[in-house]
């Protein structure tokens, strides 16, 4: 069944050219679900990197613009889109030339899975 969910998410991200992987983690960067394509890079998947999102969201909330929903970071090689679904954080790792709008459009498709995942995992540490 977990494999089936992974397959569904993989099919979802294969529709967007340039997306390497999707990670669903908790706020400390601990992985709950990971879906990779063949070219997925390891460096952006470090929990140390992923956990900075929660910090940034906490501090960004103080700027007076409300809750941070999505963080888009562009690096020379990669494009990282992180979505605030706390207690879960969804991270998309993509090619730098990937279409950000397409990644953002995946949010709606991935949401039904997330709601159940957060119910299943939410009681543990968050």
């Amino acid at each position: 069944m977990v494999e089936e969910i992974k397959k569904n998410i993989l099919q979802m991200i294969q529709k967007v050219p340039g997306v390497y992987s999707v990670l669903i983690t908790d706020r400390d960067g601990v992985q709950v679900l990971k879906v990779n394509t063949d070219k997925a890079p390891e460096i952006p998947m470090r929990p140390g990197f992923l956990s900075t999102f929660a910090l940034a969201v906490d501090q960004g909330g103080k700027l007076g613009l409300g809750k941070t929903k999505t963080l888009i970071c562009s690096y020379p090689q990669y494009l990282i889109v992180q979505m605030n679904k706390l207690p879960l954080v969804v991270t998309f790792i993509a090619n730098n030339s990937c279409n950000v709008g397409h990644i953002l459009a995946l949010e709606k498709q991935i949401e039904p899975t997330l709601s159940v995942l957060s119910l299943a995992v939410g009681e543990t540490y968050m």
Binding site: M1, G48, K62, V116
Partner: protein, 170 residues
């Protein structure tokens, strides 16, 4: 001045989430009053050393202000990223995967999203693979449709009876 002051206070309390607006005073009236209170209290303390409850009140108020300031200010230097230890990380990951398995076993997870354009055709490839219509059939269909169209356009309403009937009411 007093009027303005209370007006600002009201504005503040009515504004949502207590977020600062263009009417928010730069000097917070609450902290002002506390400062005044502090001076009075200090004087009082000099005269009477037994006023312990007031001192704790003042201390808690100051602590509260400190706390609020600390939560409102983005202090980059004070941010600690709290990196998890490797074993903590692995333990937590194991626990998550276990929970996930349990949730899957309980069939809580959503089924595959079957949204597609051809939702009413379960196997579109079979429909698409069937042989196309023969040209004679197509010409037959089109000629019949043309005839039907001309027939429909020829339909006319003939006026036979009076539409408005007059009743002779005695």
């Amino acid at each position: 001045m007093g009027c303005c002051y209370s007006y600002f206070c009201d504005q503040d309390s009515s504004s949502q989430n207590g977020e600062p607006s263009e009417r928010t005073p730069l000097v917070n009236p609450v902290s002002n009053s506390i400062n005044n209170h502090q001076i009075n209290c200090d004087d009082y303390l000099i005269r009477n050393a037994n006023s312990l409850p007031k001192k704790t009140d003042e201390q808690s108020a100051l602590n509260r202000i400190l706390q609020e300031t600390a939560t409102d200010v983005i202090d980059i230097a004070a941010l600690d990223s709290h990196n998890l230890q490797q074993h903590e990380y692995l333990d937590r990951m194991k626990q998550y995967s276990l929970k996930l398995q349990q949730a899957c076993a309980a069939n809580k997870l959503p089924q595959k999203n079957n949204k597609s354009i051809l939702q009413d055709i379960p196997q579109p490839e079979k429909v698409l693979m069937t042989a196309p219509l023969s040209s004679s059939d197509i010409s037959l269909i089109s000629s019949i449709v043309n005839k039907a169209t001309t027939a429909i356009s020829d339909i006319k309403i003939e006026h036979k009876e009076e539409l408005v009937a007059s009743f002779q009411i005695p």
